[in-house]
């Protein structure tokens, strides 16, 4: 009897490999429906697996069997499912079947990455996740889409080269690529070479996580790529950077401080990176003229909030604050996937119908596309953290976790940033609901988008009203990691 993880991996890889064959037939668009149903089935299987993880038979030494992995895998597969459904109306390319096959491979890469517990598996699945996204960013073969693909491709290749070098140093120290062995070996040493390895890991994962010194490709890639693909970047592949960081870096910080110096500790470095990331993201978002760039900068700011939750873990991993912080971070990763996914998909719907992405095209949108406007308003309020929407609860957990320790200033900065971000979120809502549209005609919204919007809005409000269900699952995931 196969366990569910093995079954999901085989299912997704089999479908992704065979979908390109449909390119040879007349029924290319069928590939979208096949992929969507397979992803829905995988999502179901992986959630069931996460509730009761058993030893996987695929490769117990390479893949962990824990709730943390299935939590991230469920987010990745769920986002890919929504992106697939939205792409049916949105993507116009001759290579339809190839497009959906690449989406399947990205989901498979993120699935394997979430579970990997060996640096070899982590690197291979990181690349399996990255290659298809380079192509997806440039699927349009137009100037903007291609420019995004070139920039994203070269930066992505650089980040994987940096990760590879970090892994090579870790292997030199540990003599093994099992993450648990690497962590144990690194903890026994306190010299500069270990610090170099950790910093290279931070840089490599930081590019995908959109932490501030490594964020410059994000706005270009998100704006240039087709909006559905940007949804995938913001809501799914970025989360894979976080799961890699949790699996490797947080495990390392539990046992090692970069130097014996009391100022350059891992927690201080994480705190400063978090502060820079959320502040710069929010300030830069304020001046943007296009919705996709604005959402890209807001996505950078949200990465800063998620990073705040890691700080108490780096201070003392077994404390109660660390558990609260990590729970808040994981919860915010889930919430961010839902909120940012729905905001980007609204941008996709508006791009599809009005062919514009500048903020002026959102003036009076509530009269022209009421369902899309309502969804965008809800997701923007959730991003700003207004109760009782889902973003409020995860931010509450994150800021509470740092409020009682030496990092109180980080909690204050986070709350101020949240208030500040409401400025530009509310500004868009004001444009949609209070300003007059240029043309007052009603634009019909595609049925597939309406269904997606309904589900995502229900998720945002539902998670906000019943956060305890999700927090229980996440606490299980956190406990499986600690």
């Amino acid at each position: 009897m196969m366990d569910l993880l093995t079954l999901t991996v085989l299912l997704l890889s089999g479908i992704s490999l065979t979908l390109p064959l449909l390119q040879l037939t007349k029924f290319k668009i069928v590939s979208a429906y096949i992929l969507a149903s397979v992803l829905a089935l995988s999502l179901f299987l992986i959630v069931i697996y996460g509730l009761n993880p058993v030893q996987n038979q695929l490769s117990p030494s390479l893949l962990a069997s824990d709730t943390l992995g299935s939590f991230f895998a469920a987010i990745a597969i769920g986002v890919t499912l929504f992106v697939t459904l939205a792409s049916i109306d949105y993507i116009r390319t001759p290579n339809t079947a190839i497009y959906y096959s690449l989406l399947g491979f990205t989901a498979l890469g993120m699935l394997l990455l979430s579970f990997s517990k060996d640096l070899l598996m982590l690197f291979v699945s990181w690349e399996l996740m990255s290659f298809p996204t380079y192509v997806l960013a440039g699927i349009d073969k137009k100037r903007r889409s291609n420019e995004a693909a070139v920039k994203y491709g070269i930066i992505g290749a650089m980040s994987s080269a940096i990760i590879l070098y970090a892994i090579s140093i870790a292997y030199g120290i540990a003599g093994s690529t099992q993450i648990s062995d690497v962590v144990r070996a690194l903890s026994a040493r306190h010299d500069i070479i270990v610090a170099v390895s950790i910093l290279l890991f931070v840089a490599g994962f930081g590019f995908k996580m959109s932490i501030v010194p490594f964020h410059m490709w994000i706005p270009d890639a998100y704006e240039g790529a087709p909006a559905t693909v940007s949804t995938l970047f913001a809501a799914a592949t970025k989360k894979s950077g976080f799961v890699a960081a949790i699996r490797v870096l947080l495990a390392m910080t539990t046992v090692y401080a970069v130097t014996n110096n009391t100022f350059f500790t891992v927690s201080n470095i994480l705190a400063v990176l978090a502060l820079l990331t959320m502040t710069l993201g929010n300030v830069a978002a304020l001046t943007q003229r296009s919705i996709t760039r604005l959402l890209a900068y807001s996505s950078i700011a949200q990465a800063g909030y998620i990073l705040v939750g890691f700080v108490p873990f780096a201070v003392s991993p077994l404390s109660y604050d660390a558990q609260i912080g990590l729970t808040g971070s994981l919860f915010h990763i889930l919430n961010h996937a839902v909120m940012k996914g729905s905001a980007f998909l609204v941008a996709a719907a508006v791009l599809l119908k009005l062919r514009r992405a500048d903020l002026d095209s959102y003036n009076g949108l509530a009269k022209r596309m009421p369902i899309a406007s309502f969804t965008l308003a809800i997701s923007l309020f959730a991003l700003a953290g207004i109760p009782p929407l889902n973003g409020f609860w995860s931010k509450l957990y994150i800021f509470l976790s740092v409020a009682s320790g030496p990092y109180l200033w980080l909690a204050i900065a986070g709350v101020l940033n949240s208030a500040f971000s409401l400025g530009y979120y509310a500004w868009i809502v004001k444009r949609m609901y209070l300003d007059e549209p240029e043309k007052p005609d009603r634009v019909d919204e595609p049925l597939s988008f309406v269904i997606i919007f309904a589900v995502l809005t229900a998720l945002i409000i539902g998670i906000g009203i019943f956060p305890q269900v999700f927090i229980n699952f996440i606490t299980g995931a956190v406990n499986s990691f600690i």
Binding site: K141, R143, E147, A148, I154, A161, G172
Partner: protein
């Protein structure tokens, strides 16, 4: 006789060359070469550590994976650069500024 330190020295020089190339060069093909140099620096590290310290074949297995992945990466990015050349008649990344970034 070569020691482990020699190999580590060569590999860190190669990594630095790669970083230098990524920062200074503006031709997309040269940027790709710089990334490949960085990947090969890591490969030298793996083989040297395996040969001098551990002798457990993990390093060499990792290098085989990384060579295959680097080839795949080069193929994907070269394909994207070919499309860029068809659109712009140029592969200079500083000319790519229609997105304003």
């Amino acid at each position: 006789m070569n020691t482990l330190a020699d190999f580590i020295f060569v590999s860190s020089i190669l990594f630095a060359v790669g970083i230098y190339g990524l920062i200074v060069k503006r031709n997309a093909l040269r940027l790709l070469f710089a990334v490949e140099i960085m990947i090969n620096a890591a490969n030298i590290n793996f083989v040297a550590f395996e040969q001098y310290l551990w002798n457990n074949a993990v390093g060499q297995a990792f290098v085989l994976f990384s060579i295959a992945l680097a080839a795949g990466e080069a193929a994907v990015i070269l394909a994207i650069i070919v499309v860029a050349y068809r659109i712009n008649k140029d592969v200079d990344v500083s000319e790519l500024s229609s997105l304003g970034g």
